[in-house]
């Protein structure tokens, strides 16, 4: 399952875990890419499972000739012990019949490593927003009870709204309210499973559409930075973009970014 890079397995106890959900626009994965390359986080292990579609490529965060031929697999764990920050990057979608198994795998890994907090970065289809969600910030959050006990009202104080529930049968008034995250991938089920397993989990999601989702990744990352103070900056350009974001044209000082390695893999449908 988790296989460390060297012989020594790192201890994640009391660290914060940040992971993406493979969701619309791959925003979670892009935001995690930004985080890993900004902080130059080293890879400490692999999540080796048959639940994800296999994929390999050269290191997307390479800054030099030698490191650009380091192999990268579809799910890797990066860790900064001094900041007590662990990041799981998932680069390929789950095999269709194995999403449940994958959720349980990640859940049991989180439990066994005793992370202090887990944060899932995700996104949802903007075209499914209802009237309340159309105006204001596109960011929303969800948190389990255990997470609320740890951080309290912090997210609300940062002007973030909790994700609204939707009626199970739209149009009918007295119907039960349920969580609905279209385009969120495993987000909804993972959140409900973490709630029932009493795991402190927060979900940060953004409403977006498919396209060039780099700005959404920045928005998500900036909010996360405001909350956790991971990178000491207030400006956008300080957050380093991964080296391989170069094919798309964006007017920034550093090399023009392009993320679509994640996109191309997510297009694979088996």
């Amino acid at each position: 399952m988790f296989v460390p890079v060297g012989n020594a397995s790192p201890t994640f106890k009391d660290s914060i875990l940040i992971m993406p959900a493979v969701s619309v626009g791959n925003v979670g994965q892009l935001a995690v890419d930004l985080l890993i390359s900004s902080l130059n986080m080293p890879c400490v292990g692999y999540i080796h499972t048959d639940c994800l579609i296999p994929m390999v490529g050269n290191d997307p965060y390479a800054t030099s000739e030698e490191s650009s031929s380091e192999l990268c697999t579809n799910a890797e764990v990066y860790f900064l012990p001094e900041k007590k920050l662990a990041v799981l990057q998932i680069r390929s979608p789950t095999v269709k019949s194995k999403t449940r198994q994958f959720r349980h795998l990640i859940l049991s890994w989180i439990k066994s490593n005793r992370f202090s907090q887990s944060i899932l970065l995700s996104s949802s289809h903007a075209y499914q927003c209802d009237d309340r969600q159309l105006s204001g910030s596109p960011l929303r959050y969800l948190q389990t009870l255990e997470m609320k006990n740890i951080i309290g009202d912090k997210l609300q104080k940062l002007d973030l709204n909790e994700l609204e529930t939707t009626p199970a049968f739209p149009g009918i008034r007295e119907t039960e309210q349920q969580l609905w995250i279209p385009g969120g991938g495993i987000t909804k089920r993972f959140f409900t499973e973490c709630s029932s397993e009493h795991i402190p989990l927060a979900v940060l999601l953004i409403f977006c559409s498919e396209g060039d989702n780099i700005p959404e990744a920045f928005t998500l990352m900036n909010f996360l930075n405001q909350w956790l103070h991971l990178v000491e900056t207030t400006g956008l350009c300080k957050l380093g973009k991964p080296v391989d974001w170069h094919i798309m044209a964006v007017e920034e000082e550093t090399k023009a970014p392009a993320l679509k390695d994640k996109a191309s893999v997510s297009e694979l449908q088996f």
Binding site: V24, H48, V56, A62, P93, R100, P182, S264
Partner: protein, 324 residues
């Protein structure tokens, strides 16, 4: 999302499939039973030949000691290995893998290979019994050859400016040899069997290399197969290939082919030297005391030249008894 005509359509996403969300929601026992049956049918079966099964049983840890594993994925890669490796030396079939999924046209019970169906066969070389499909991880080296459509290759330059087909390589951390071609640039990725094998090797620290050939022809094509020839310089493949030049078409690289064959036969035998020396011994007999070095040189030259004087015309041109 509403279209111009007022109908609503669901937007598709490159990342998620809407069907994923309904998975497992209202499953009853019958659905689960059907799923279990399907899972069983889709299992991959590995069958070894009788010799190999015996070797497995008799080994102490139920493994086979192998040092090299070479995998070819795709028509051109397997065509290359068949032509260049399997045709030189003695290879025996060691085993095969059979599998079924909804795309197969034949049921699993028929054990024959069907042309056009995906199949996997293991071969082992007689003289070098350590080259094969392996189970044992220690001191194992893996080489993978794979085809890929060039449409999947992403590059800042125009694809039409890059000569196709071409090779790109990916290697695991523990692989130390030089690559036979350039490394696959970001943001290109590899998926499927080559990715699964390479991921496994990276995670378990097994030295492995993947040579991916980007080609515009999906079926078996001689130009694509020839592109793989540059991988012959890597150590795993080099030791498999004997009499390489005899496998090259004489018409393709005519001059090089002939020069190479001549070079390989250069010291095949010393017959010519020996026969020249015997001729020289006949010439330099004890009675020829006035034979100078120059004369000897010239005589040997004439002897070795293979030139036969036209005796008849020479004789005809001479008059033995001329009358003045």
């Amino acid at each position: 999302m509403a279209t111009f005509f007022g109908e609503t359509v669901t937007l598709s996403s490159r990342a998620v499939d809407e069907e994923d969300e309904e998975e497992g929601e209202d499953e009853n026992e019958e659905d689960r039973e059907i799923k279990r049956e399907l899972e069983k049918k889709r299992e991959v079966h590995l069958q070894w030949n009788a010799d190999f099964s015996r070797q497995f049983e008799t080994s102490s840890d139920k493994t086979l000691q192998i040092s090299e594993l070479i995998i070819a994925v795709g028509y051109n890669a397997s065509g290359f290995l068949s032509a260049f490796a399997l045709s030189s030396g003695n290879w025996e079939t060691a085993g095969n893998i059979s599998l079924w999924n909804e795309k197969s046209r034949f049921s699993r019970e028929t054990s024959l290979e069907h042309p056009g169906e995906p199949s996997c066969i293991f071969y082992r070389k007689d003289e070098n019994p350590e080259v094969l499909g392996s189970i044992e991880k220690r001191s194992l080296k893996v080489t993978i050859l794979s085809d890929c459509p060039v449409a999947n290759y992403r590059s800042p330059e125009y694809i039409s400016a890059i000569p196709v087909p071409f090779l790109k390589a990916l290697k695991t951390r523990t692989y130390n040899e030089n690559l036979c071609c350039s490394s696959l640039e970001q943001p290109n990725v590899v998926s499927g069997i080559p990715a699964a094998v390479l991921s496994y090797c990276q995670v378990h620290q097994i030295p492995a290399v993947l040579y991916q050939c980007y080609t515009d022809v999906v079926k078996l094509d001689s130009v694509t197969v020839e592109t793989y020839k540059s991988t012959l310089s890597c150590s795993s493949l080099r030791k498999l290939i004997k009499h390489f030049w005899s496998l090259v078409e004489p018409d393709d690289y005519k001059n090089l082919h002939q020069a190479a064959l001549k070079m390989s036969a250069l010291f095949g035998s010393t017959y010519l030297c020996d026969s020249a020396i015997s001729d020289m011994n006949v010439m330099k007999s004890k009675f020829r005391t006035r034979l100078t070095d120059e004369h000897l040189n010239d005589s040997i030259r004439v002897n070795l030249s293979g030139y036969t004087p036209p005796y008849t015309s020479l004789v005809d041109s001479m008059q033995c008894q001329s009358s003045d």
